[in-house]
């Protein structure tokens, strides 16, 4: 059973099915599939009248590793660095095969791109600051997120906040990144190692922001450092909304920030500056007004979200 990486998840888990754990005997009623990845499949389930997310896989070792991460994030928490872990158990399917599953808090939210499309570009600044805040906390507790990508992020409502949902790639600082996705990986772009350090996440962070505006992503033409840097810089420059932040984003791409706090500071400065300019040049051309206005509102939103 362990000899193949991807023995198909051909066990049929369907809505309405009950899954009962071998060790702790809790029962979960499957509601619907939420998504699947390299390690396993995540389902929405119901237990004791409330919803939870259940991840199940035949890769016991990888699942155990993920559980370990969730547990240690839970210890440093008090805040929401990852979904909280509710249960870990094994499930024997009707024909006797064993699967490992864990149950975690169900985070209900909206995908980032549609949210920005509906609610406006002023949210970009807010989300950047929120995300950098979380990354700073994570790094301070000794971890690097690793597989930071748009698909792993959700916007939850009231208060509006960006949250990450899959900790599968989370790696102890100093070790080799456990799981990554090419587009977001600085190794793929020839711009650094895959050693877990804060700057690894900051690179991926910039690619997350870019992927909001490039739904079809883009590729490296050849893996040499200068060409990939040029490619990414051009993509940053082509997005008007990102113009105020472009210096910060480019610095993160080339690994100039050692901590998220440094990068957050830089982005905050951009926002402050924008506010100041806003007061000084209220009679300028309308399009300038607009972009400055966006930054102003973004700053405002972020401070509100800090208070909440």
């Amino acid at each position: 059973m362990m000899n193949k990486i991807s023995r198909k998840h051909d066990f049929l888990i369907k809505p309405g099915m009950k899954i009962t754990g071998k060790w702790h005997n809790h029962t979960y009623v499957i509601k619907k599939k939420l998504g699947s990845g390299a390690i396993g499949t995540v389902y929405l389930c119901e237990t004791k009248g409330s919803y939870a997310a259940l991840k199940i896989s035949d890769k016991s070792a990888s699942m155990t590793t993920e559980v370990n991460v969730l547990k240690s994030l839970g210890k440093v928490q008090g805040n929401r660095l990852g979904p909280s872990l509710l249960d870990v158990d094994d499930w024997i399917n009707p024909i006797g095969q064993k699967y490992t599953f864990y149950v975690m808090e169900y985070i209900k939210g909206e995908a980032v791109r549609p949210f920005i499309q509906q609610n406006g570009n002023e949210w970009i600044g807010v989300f950047m600051l929120q995300l950098l805040d979380d990354l700073e906390k994570l790094h301070k507790s000794g971890w690097v997120f690793g597989d930071l990508k748009l698909e792993n992020l959700l916007i939850t409502a009231s208060p509006t906040r960006i949250r990450w949902i899959d900790v599968g790639g989370t790696t102890l600082i100093g070790r080799a990144i456990k799981e990554y996705t090419e587009f977001y990986d600085r190794g793929y772009w020839g711009l650094g190692s895959r050693r877990a350090e804060p700057s690894y996440d900051l690179f991926a962070f910039v690619m997350v922001i870019l992927s909001i505006y490039y739904p079809h992503k883009f590729h490296r033409e050849n893996p040499s450092q200068t060409t990939t840097t040029t490619t990414i810089f051009k993509k940053i420059d082509a997005i008007k909304t990102l113009t105020p932040y472009s210096i910060c984003l480019k610095k993160a791409i080339t690994g100039k920030y050692e901590t998220s706090a440094q990068m957050k500071q830089a982005i905050q400065t951009v926002l402050y500056q924008a506010e100041k300019n806003h007061q000084e040049i209220t009679n300028q051309k309308p399009f300038l007004m607009e972009s400055v206005g966006i930054l102003f509102v973004a700053g405002g939103y972020y401070f509100i979200s800090l208070l909440l």
Binding site: N68, K98, A176
Partner: protein, 245 residues
């Protein structure tokens, strides 16, 4: 406490069936006896379905070589090479830990039979070993005619593998052999070295021939590992244990 050791792996990259010499599954078993794990990646043509019959051999070789196998299309080769290598490392280390467990618990219990809480603690040990142990990978590339258009992708995947493994704390050594060789069963492309980044310069040397002597190639590859440490490497795990789980 578990002593730190060197994991030895052969990574066979092929796109078809062997057609000359002994059964590759048998030579893979032999290598495994010597503490060398054999992983196999079968590259599919883009128009091939996922289970062509000829590639059953891929799974068989890895099974008797104590390793991991995977069929893959060119596009996802990079990620697969890494997952296969890392998965095989974990599997070997887990097998080793299972042996220790059996000695301690005196039963047929493996890690997977333990309660999830205990499993978590043991997994931390396995992960720790995987991060810190030394690793030797011999890459064995099939260069028969049909592989020609796949070789550039293979090259990129190997450079990428070296980036990933060199981000670990443990040390690595890589070397590359191709088969069939001009006069011998295998041909040295790249000598043992801690990195693969200068591989670009040697790759064009690969020439394509008609026969595919996979079995003899694995046998020869086995002898390229430093001989004194062959039997002293991490004790081989017992496939039976894992299968029972």
């Amino acid at each position: 406490m578990v002593k730190k050791g060197t994991l030895k792996q052969i990574l066979l990259i092929t796109d078809g069936c062997s057609n000359k010499g002994e059964d590759p599954a048998a030579t893979a078993a032999l290598a495994y006896e010597q503490g060398i794990v054999v992983n196999v990646i079968g590259i599919l043509d883009d128009d091939q379905t996922e289970q062509p019959e000829g590639l059953q051999e891929v799974e068989d070789i890895a099974l008797s070589g104590g390793g991991v196998s995977q069929l893959v299309y060119k596009a996802t080769l990079s990620q697969t090479v890494q997952t296969v290598t890392k998965q095989a490392m974990t599997q070997t280390l887990q097998g080793f830990v299972n042996l220790e467990l059996k000695q301690i618990l005196g039963s047929n219990e493996t890690m997977d039979d333990l309660a999830p809480e205990k499993r978590g603690e043991i997994m931390e040990v396995v992960e720790d070993l995987g991060e810190t142990c030394d690793l030797e990978v011999l890459v064995l590339i099939d260069t028969s005619a049909s592989m020609n258009d796949k070789l550039p992708t293979v090259k990129e995947a190997l450079i990428d593998l070296s980036i990933s493994l060199n981000s670990r704390i443990g040390r690595n050594r890589f070397c590359i052999y191709s088969f069939p060789g001009k006069r011998k069963d295998i041909e040295k492309v790249y000598d043992w070295s801690p990195k693969l980044d200068s591989v670009s310069t040697v790759f064009p040397k690969l020439s394509s021939g008609g026969i595919t002597p996979t079995g003899p190639a694995i046998r020869e590859a086995m002898y390229q590992f430093s001989k004194k440490s062959l039997r002293r490497s991490l004790r081989k795990n017992d496939e039976q244990d894992i299968e029972e789980a």
